[in-house]
Amino acid sequence: MQFWQSTGDLPKYFARAAARYDRIPGHMYAIEVEGLKKVFGNVEAVAGIDLIVSEGEMFGFLGPNGAGKSTTTKILTTLLRPTAGTARVAGFDIVTHPHEVRLSIGVALQEAGLDTLATGREMLVLLARLQGLRGGQPHKRAAAMLDLVGLSDAADRRLGTYSGGMRRRLDLAGALIHGPKLLFLDEPTTGLDPASRHAIWEEVARLNREEGITVFLTTQYLEEADRLAERVAIIDHGRIVALGSPTELKSEIAADILTLAVPEESMDVAKEALTRLPGLKEIQSDTKELTLFVTGGSSAIASAVRLLHEVDVTVGSVKLSSPTLDEVFLRATGSRLEGAEQQQAETDGKKRGRKEAS
């Protein structure tokens, strides 16, 4: 039996994984977070997180609704004060030197904060001025950033007339207007259609690759974290439950994923029977699906079906796959990343209503 099969060990295992970073003394980090906590009334939105982001890194912060992504982002960008813990951004303490932090960062929050009565250009010019650009610079920069995000044609239209995707892009332009070396993006592609999403991905990847901009990006999309981030922190209920490069995290699972659709009423029987499966590392169930972490690949399919046949459980469908970040999340938290299935649907072009954290 593997040690993580007893669920008691799971939190410890992932806590160790989460703390696994190499802090080099004297090295300048873009972001350093220690024991960060934020409590709202009786809600512990951020429950003590530690992480380090190196300069030039593309860091993903992946978690379901209400995990604490936005709260963390707001603390790191000086919009909220932490309840406990410390953080340094661009080398400055966020509580004692918020001014220096703000001078160093570009931020696009989850809600694109736009002045609907202003035109795109007017808003960017104002932001440039408030960022300390003078003379002809604000206009020059505004034009350049509008061009960068492909909004030159709409530049002189009021923001109230922009579509959701255009608003997101303008927000990104605003975050870049003063040429920051460190960029915070809170769910930059939520609510966008696949084409706009890919456009943002490409641009963010380019900024990181070609211009060396450090990116701290939150997302609830596995695919986004997987594609973009060099390292991912998976956050759930205010805690980091896994941390590492996507490849690393997936290989840590060291197993294939066998998914079996089983009638709800036979779930318990099925689960019991499958514990005898050779090569089983872990088993997770929800109402209509069993997820098995197995070694032995395709031979496990036959064995599993046989075991279920012996206890008279009919199997709806069987799927064997390599682990994704969803399984990493499942292993760490016992539940699938909320909306993982819908996300697939959304990627296929459908829209999904998002639960608002309020």
């Binding site: 001078l103 904060g113 002045d115 202003a118 408030l130 610079q137 040429g179």
Partner: protein
Amino acid sequence: MSVALAPHARTYRRETEFFRATYYVAMREIRNLIRTPAAFIPSFFIPLFFFFVQSGSLQRLAERSGQVTDYKAFVLPVAILFSVSNEGAGFNMVTDIERGYFDKLMLCPANRLAVLIGTVGANFAGVLFRSLIVTAIALATGLHFATGIAGILPMVFLASLWGLVFAGIAMAVAIKTANAQAVQGSIVFLFPLLFLTTSFAPREAMTGWLKVAVGYNPITYILEGMRSFSAYGFDATRIAKGVLAVLIMAPITMGLSIAALRGRLK
């Protein structure tokens, strides 16, 4: 295309940045004021309507009583004062907070107070402009202004300063609650105070508790200060009392909005 900025392109001078930020925030606020004519234009009609209806209906009666000589000059400050005591600054701030634009401003390196002062400043300018127009129209329709043309600006200025007191409350509630109803509620709650003054009759004509309450209401002193310019003729004591009322009240309500701003970060 590169987003990197040439090293010399951005010279952030903290000392001057506060004033620049205040100015740009104020200009944006004024621009938005002008771009919402549906809210801006009615704000002219309400004081004018009040002025004409009030003076039209009561002028004869009041002047015959012998206690006021020119009822129009007596009632104009009331019309202006009512119109400056509004929640406009708070409403706009609620909208900004709801849209996330306020956070955007808070993310800028400029001192956050600049956002508050810029908003208040723009509101002040708007109120001043509106009050001047209202006074000009009143003059054009036969009002006799006691201290002449030179007295108009100081009177309007005093009224607009009082507008800051209300703006401070509206903004404090706006920042604290981010709720338009709450902002409106706070002003509605204070509105009766405007009546507990000498707005419709001189203090000498009052009796009992009303007379006492009116004496404790700072708005009475603003109103009387304004009337020194429009109706009574220059009266340094009255004006000083009005200015004093603002000097006491404005820091209190502005302090409330600063406290609300601080609290927002918690």
